[in-house]
């Protein structure tokens, strides 16, 4: 069970869960779309930490390749998402999600 000296897989899972919940809390807490976007990045990284810890536990590199693909998707997502935010700001002059509520049910 031990990955490092006295550090088990559970420690890494608790750390990953704490980061993930902080990301969710940030999305609920903030109304600035850019900060919410950064919280999504934080949640992706929380999953990456868990994947790398499991990769060490099982002695296989497959999970590290998955982390690569998550990074690829995150980079593509940031490029498109920031372009959308730029266009929103150009047309609406705000990134506040309390104002950008036209799609709200």
């Amino acid at each position: 069970m031990q990955l490092l000296h006295n550090i088990t897989i559970d420690h890494y899972l608790y750390f990953s869960v704490a980061l993930f919940c902080l990301g969710i809390a940030g999305i609920l807490y903030r109304r600035n779309a850019i900060i919410m976007f950064m919280c999504v990045e934080l949640m992706l990284n929380a999953v990456n930490v868990a994947l790398v810890a499991f990769s060490k536990l099982y002695g296989q590199t497959d999970a590290q390749v998955f982390v690569f693909f998550i990074m690829v998707v995150a980079a593509a997502e940031v490029a498109v998402g920031l372009a959308i935010l730029m266009m929103l700001y150009r047309n609406m002059h705000t990134t506040d999600t309390d104002v950008l509520d036209k799609l709200k049910f």
Partner: protein, 167 residues
């Protein structure tokens, strides 16, 4: 013993700078706090024998993605303290849902019976060589498809940020 201290140090740095990212009013400070979090996560990768992944993480996240965020904040001129006029109740609800979710998932982890024992990894585990072999032999098709994903993301970003009114 030293790795244990390093684990706790990196964990607390990552968590506290993540909290700082959420609660700081200035978006630039939020970006800087998130960069500190990413460096701490890269340190965790080093501890877990994923040296190449740690280097890539620093290059991609701290070097590219967060710089992109900083540029957008600068271009949109958002680097002023934004007055968020939200009720205390909605913020309290956010904090409460954070706590409840944390307790639920942590309890799920605590009750899980993990039978698996750690497997002693090979000495070249996590190096560029083993990772490259795995990426180009077992995961060649997803690797090629991800290049198409990047191309479409690039075209989409250029198309979206054209100076044109859509309304």
């Amino acid at each position: 013993m030293l790795t244990e201290y390093a684990f706790w140090f990196l964990t607390f740095v990552a968590l506290f700078s993540a909290i700082g990212m959420i609660i700081s009013k200035n978006p630039v400070y939020s970006v800087l706090s998130l960069i500190v979090t990413f460096f701490a996560i890269a340190g965790h990768y080093f501890l877990l024998n994923a040296q190449f992944l740690a280097a890539v993480h620093i290059i991609v996240y701290a070097g590219a993605i967060m710089v992109l965020f900083l540029y957008v904040i600068m271009m949109l001129n958002l680097n002023k303290v934004d007055e968020e006029k939200r009720s205390v109740w909605s913020k309290a609800a956010a904090v409460a849902s954070f706590g409840i979710l944390l307790v639920v998932i942590s309890a799920a982890i605590g009750h899980g019976q993990s039978q698996q024992t750690a497997i002693a990894a090979a000495s070249n585990f996590g190096t560029t060589e083993t990772l490259g072999l795995s990426l180009y032999k077992d995961f060649l098709i997803p690797f090629e498809i991800s290049s198409v994903l990047f191309l479409s993301a690039m075209v989409g970003a250029v198309y979206l940020s054209k100076k044109e009114q859509y309304n």
